[in-house]
């Protein structure tokens, strides 16, 4: 009898352990360097998990159509008719650095700032507006569309670049991107570790 009880107890423990393993947070349990097959991606779910950040106005205002930056949560055209310019840093006497500092200023309606405040260059404008998740994913990974970055460099850009990180600290009066930075970084690295799978559409 005792043997049967012991067997049942072991079985229950095993089931509980299995359930715990299955319910684990993916980001916490999967080290970023764990290789996984790209096909094991639930049709790009690992990518779409952090897409809300990419599609947020804090990111899209510099990745939208047109040869100019945008502003606000409604992504209206930058006031004063500011242009992208030949290198993404504005034009002549109306460069980004004319008004933007390398840090936010303390009050609402003052220019936000971060190091190297700029748009993508016109030769590679990285326009995401109008793309499906699949197209966005592919364009992010394509060195011909992402300033020549390989996957490691892309992940570093997404998770460590100071201008990108500004989206989490946009200063007073601006909505930050929706997912906490550490959570976003973990999701990006899980996607990377899985082979950076893209949605099929």
């Amino acid at each position: 009898m005792k043997r049967v009880e012991f067997f049942v107890a072991v079985l229950i423990l095993a089931v509980c352990a299995g359930a715990l393993w299955l319910s684990r947070p993916v980001a916490a349990a999967e080290p970023p360097n764990t290789p996984r097959a790209a096909s094991d991606s639930n049709d790009g779910a690992l990518f779409t998990a952090f897409v809300p950040v990419l599609r947020h106005p804090r990111c899209m205002n510099c990745h939208s159509k047109g040869d100019y930056p945008r502003q606000g949560d409604d992504s209206h055209r930058h006031t004063m008719d500011i242009r992208r310019g030949p290198a993404g840093f504005g034009v002549t006497a109306a460069k980004c650095s004319t008004c933007h500092q390398d840090h936010n200023l303390g009050n609402v309606h003052l220019p936000p700032g971060a190091p190297a405040w700029h748009l993508p260059s016109p030769s590679m404008p990285m326009i995401w507006e109008g793309l499906t998740d699949a197209q966005l994913c592919q364009s992010l990974k394509d060195p011909k569309q992402n300033q020549g970055r390989n996957l490691d460099q892309l992940v570093e850009h997404l998770t460590e670049d100071k201008l990108v990180a500004w989206g989490w600290n946009p200063g007073p009066g601006r909505t930050p991107v929706p997912i906490p930075h550490d959570e976003f970084s973990a999701k990006v690295k899980v996607w990377q570790a899985a082979g950076a799978p893209c949605p099929s559409r």
């Binding site: 004063m80 008719d81 500011i82 242009r83 034009v91 002549t92 006497a93 109306a94 460069k95 650095s97 004319t98 008004c99 500092q101 200023l105 009050n107 309606h109 003052l110 220019p111």
Partner: protein, 156 residues
Amino acid sequence: MIGFSVNGKRVDLDVDPSTPLLWVIREQLSLTGTKYGCGMAQCGACTVHINGEAVRSCVAPVSRAEGKSITTIEGLSPDLSHPLQRAWLEEDVPQCGYCQSGQLMSAAVLLREKPAPTDEDIDEAMTGNICRCGTYPRIRRAIHRAAEMVAKGGAR
């Protein structure tokens, strides 16, 4: 202490690094040609050059000037001989004049980068400099006139 040069002269100032550069220029250095307009980089009246680039000094902390070269309207030329200053006089550009030092400082950057600017170049460069008197047509004419002076070799 924060050190930089203003119109070619070295200055070292004991000032809070977050103080707007405009305040330092006007209050500490008594160079009052640069004007306070909006205080939020919306009007362009406070435009100066930091290492040759147009900057709105009302929102730029003086720490940004550390080790750099600042040019204000007083330093554009020692004797009003800059082609833009001459063209401004010839075209009688200013009305009230309050925005004009900022207009000139922006125009100077434009001419350096585009010695023969089109109307579109002028619009793109001067877009952040507002003039309540509406002197924009005269500003445009003066910039073209200054560009012609430079092209003819009659100006520095």
